[in-house]
Structures are given as structure tokens and as C-alpha cells.
């Protein structure tokens, strides 16, 4: 097996470009979901908000401006093929350098700060980096800027096993209900069931990387996604919480085995500015 070399210089460049692309260009799946929502939504006020979101995405794309002023913390997922050798220095430093350059050159807002003093780090680093080693000789990079408003409404809970799937559904729907207008609905709901405390949160976060409309391959879990989506639709929260039938654009659930004593559940809420862009090196 040949070892393929990838330089940190190339990683810096790709991360930089993904940061800018993700913040300027909303995914076509989200745009299509806006169109469908405009067609189905019952409230005129809500339709007007949805039309504004569509227009906002057009302006951002054409003028190369951030979709939202909250350009997020830079969440970077990196899958590294086990036959890749990274040359030219520290990998994590390279990812952070890419974020630094992307947020500076793209005129993106720097939102990273000390949790207690609230002093801004000034360059939106450190990035939130998730590394995974996979088979092959490629590197896959995903940059998913995550805004604070919707992240603040996200939760992890440890249910008792007796609560079962009904408990999971109730927890998710209640979380969306209690979040109300705060996370910038229409939202996308990422749900992680199982694993450990932190693994459930990771599953919920990764679920948000799916393309809108893409169901869990397990038919039973796909049905649960649809059922939760239908219950959320009935909450009536609507776009920006002004009332309406479009509260979420999609619900994604991921599940893994957990401890015999536990039932971890995480809900990661994503605002309608659902930004993630990927590249393969």
C-alpha cells in the first residue's frame, strides 16, 4: 500500500475556502425546502418570513456576504484515510490557520470568546475539531459553522431505559416547544440516541450534516423521524415563532447501542441558516 502525502498548506487552503463558501452560499436542499414551505404554509405572515429568507440567501450568494451575521463557531469534521501521511507541520494548527484566514478574508464575524471573561479570541479560533481515521488514502473535510442561538436551545439528557422510544419522542418535541422562537425557526432537528453522554451529542451533531429529505436507512427509525416531524408541525410555532405550520424543515435521528443502565438522548437544534460544505483532498 502506497502512503499518500498531503501537505498542511493544502489543508489550510481547503478549510479557508470551506469557511467562506459555507457562510455565503446556503445549500440547494435548504433553498428547495424554503420553496416547498412557502407553498404549504398556512399563515401569510409566515410565508412572508420564508420569502425574506429566500431573498436573503440570494443577496448573500450574489454579493458574497454572510447569510447570517452569526458566522458561528467553526465546527470542522475531518475524516483522514489511514494511508495518508500529513506533511508540513501540526494538523490541528493547520485547521485553525484555515479558519483564521477564512474568517478574516471572508469578512466573517469572529464569535469565539473566553467563557467567563467573554474576551473575544479575535480570529474565531480555536475551531471545534472532530477527527476520525477511516480506510483509504483521502481526506474528507466538512466545515459546519454553528450559530449560538440555536446551539443554546440544544440539550442532552439521560433518560431511564423504561422511558423507551416514547420518552425520546416526548423529550425532543418538548425541547422544540420550549425553545419556541429562540433558535430561528424553521429549524432542523438533529437527534442522537444511545452511546454515552458525549457520544449522543456527537450523533445529534453529525445528524445535522445530512441533506434535507434524506431519511435514516433503517425504515423503523425513518418512520420515527417522520412521526416526530409531524408532532413538531402541530406545535404551531412557525417561522420566527410568529405562528404557522412550518416549524422545522426536517428531523434527523441517529441511534447506536448504549449501556444497559442508560438511555442517552441529545437534541441539537440547527437554525434555518443550515450551513455545511465539504471537500475531499
Amino acid at each position: 500500500m502506497m502512503i499518500r502525502e498531503v501537505s498542511t498548506q493544502e489543508i489550510i487552503k481547503v478549510v479557508k475556502d470551506l469557511c467562506i463558501d459555507a457562510n455565503y452560499n446556503l445549500g440547494t436542499d435548504v433553498l428547495a425546502a424554503f420553496d416547498q414551505a412557502i407553498e404549504n404554509e398556512k399563515s401569510e405572515t409566515a410565508r412572508e418570513v420564508l420569502r425574506e429568507l429566500k431573498e436573503n440567501a440570494r443577496i448573500a450568494r450574489e454579493e458574497k456576504a454572510p447569510i447570517c451575521q452569526d458566522c458561528g463557531l467553526a465546527v470542522v469534521f475531518m475524516e483522514i484515510g489511514q494511508d495518508v501521511h500529513i506533511t508540513g507541520g501540526d494538523l490541528k494548527a493547520a485547521i485553525n490557520e484555515g479558519v483564521r484566514q477564512g474568517y478574516e478574508e471572508g469578512y466573517l464575524r469572529k464569535s469565539a470568546c473566553n467563557p467567563i471573561t467573554r474576551k473575544n479570541t479575535g480570529d474565531n479560533t480555536p475551531a471545534i475539531i472532530h477527527l476520525e481515521i477511516v480506510p483509504g488514502d483521502k481526506i474528507k473535510l466538512i466545515v459546519a459553522p454553528k450559530g449560538g442561538g440555536s446551539e443554546n436551545m440544544s440539550r442532552v439528557t439521560m433518560l431511564t431505559p423504561a422511558a423507551g422510544m416514547e420518552g425520546v419522542k416526548d423529550f425532543v418535541v418538548n425541547r422544540v416547544k420550549e425553545s419556541g422562537s429562540n433558535p430561528c425557526p424553521p429549524t432542523i432537528i438533529g437527534i442522537g440516541v444511545g452511546g454515552t453522554f458525549e457520544r449522543s451529542a456527537m450523533l445529534a451533531k453529525k445528524a445535522l450534516l445530512r441533506t434535507l429529505g434524506e431519511r435514516n436507512p433503517d425504515p423503523e427509525l425513518a418512520n420515527i423521524e417522520k412521526e416526530i416531524f409531524a408532532r413538531i408541525e402541530k406545535l404551531g410555532i412557525g417561522p420566527m415563532g410568529y405562528g404557522g405550520t412550518t416549524t422545522s424543515l426536517d428531523v434527523f435521528l441517529e441511534m447506536e447501542p448504549c449501556h444497559i443502565a442508560s438511555l442517552p438522548v441529545a437534541v441539537n437544534i440547527q437554525c434555518h441558516a443550515a450551513r455545511h460544505k465539504e471537500a475531499v483532498i
Binding site: 454579493e63 447570517c68 473575544n120 419556541g180
Partner: protein, 185 residues
């Protein structure tokens, strides 16, 4: 029935008393920006009995932390941030004469009560529509706390800045009314 109204800041008690939840308002004139860190500093000054860097009487505060302006533009993307984080500070500012707040998301009962008692309103702007909203901002300058970067207090000159009345001076709440109209079961 909701109405479309054009208002120019500073706002009077009379201006805000006419507003009802769901009204579409186009704001003109000056807005001041402020979010988490700036509010904390203002609140600490009030607590210490010191003068504020801006006179809030009749003014409207916009909860926003814009992106950096590109060359030739007054401001970057500039949509609202979530308002509840300013709830601990807002009643005091309303008591001092603040007439309006612009943000997104729910307010606490204490803020809603203060708006009723001292006659002020809470406007919603469309969250996540930062590129669209920036087009209504014609001029921006930092007037306090430049060290806070995106959180500095800015003086914005706006034209037909689009907002919706969420809480009026009667204690009504658009979120409660809007959701009750569309909730099922």
C-alpha cells in the same frame, strides 16, 4: 388587524402606544446597537450611578453583532440576535426611557411588565436575514466600547428598517397569539 406604519426615531410614548402586536413597522432615523457585553457594561454604570455613553431616552436598541464591513459598505450582515439574554438588563433601561428594542425570540415576563408600565415595545426582525437587513442600514459608526469588536455600541442610520411588533404597551405577545392560532391538539 395588523397595519403597516412608518416611524422615525426617537420614539415618543404616543408613537409606541399606537402600536399593536403583529403591526409591520418601517423604522427610520437612528438605532443604537448593543448585545450581551455592552448591556452588562451599561448596567454596571447604572448600578454605580455613572453616566451612560448614550442617552437611551426615546431610543431604540437593536440587538445585533454585525459581520465586518467590506470596503465601501457601511456594515456587514446585520440580523438580530436572540433577545432573552438581555432580559436581566432591559427593565432598567426601559425605566430610563428606552422606547424600543429589536431582536428575535421571547422576552421574560419582567420585560413585558416593564414595557407595559413605562410604555415601550419589543420589535422582531427576521433572524438569519442578515444580508437582507444590512441593505436598510445606510451608515454605521462605533460610539462606545470599540474593544468589544462586534459587540461594540454602534449608531446606525436606517431607512425603512423592517420590524414586526411582538410585545406592545398593553402586555400582548405575538408569539402567544400566533402560536395559539396554528397549534393543533
Amino acid at each position: 388587524m395588523s397595519q403597516q406604519i412608518r416611524l422615525t426615531t426617537p420614539l415618543t410614548t404616543d408613537d409606541v402606544e399606537k402600536l399593536r402586536i403583529g403591526d409591520k413597522v418601517l423604522l427610520n432615523g437612528v438605532l443604537f446597537t448593543g448585545r450581551d457585553a455592552a448591556h452588562k457594561r451599561l448596567f454596571d454604570l447604572i448600578h454605580d450611578g455613572k453616566e451612560l455613553p448614550i442617552d437611551v431616552k426615546g431610543q431604540v436598541i437593536y440587538y445585533v453583532g454585525p459581520t465586518p464591513a467590506k470596503p465601501g459598505k457601511p456594515i456587514g450582515s446585520a440580523g438580530p440576535t436572540t433577545s432573552y439574554r438581555m432580559d436581566p438588563y432591559s427593565p432598567k433601561l426601559i425605566e430610563l426611557g428606552l422606547k424600543g428594542m429589536i431582536g428575535k425570540g421571547n422576552r421574560s415576563q419582567a420585560v413585558i411588565d416593564a414595557m407595559k408600565q413605562f410604555r415601550a415595545v419589543y420589535f422582531g426582525a427576521t433572524g438569519g436575514a442578515g444580508a437582507l437587513i444590512a441593505k436598510r442600514i445606510k451608515k454605521a459608526e462605533i460610539v462606545a466600547y470599540p474593544d468589544l469588536g462586534p459587540e461594540a455600541i454602534r449608531r446606525l442610520e436606517v431607512e425603512d428598517f423592517p420590524v414586526t411588533v411582538i410585545n406592545d404597551t398593553k402586555g400582548n405577545d405575538l408569539f402567544v397569539e400566533g402560536i395559539s392560532r396554528y397549534a393543533q391538539g
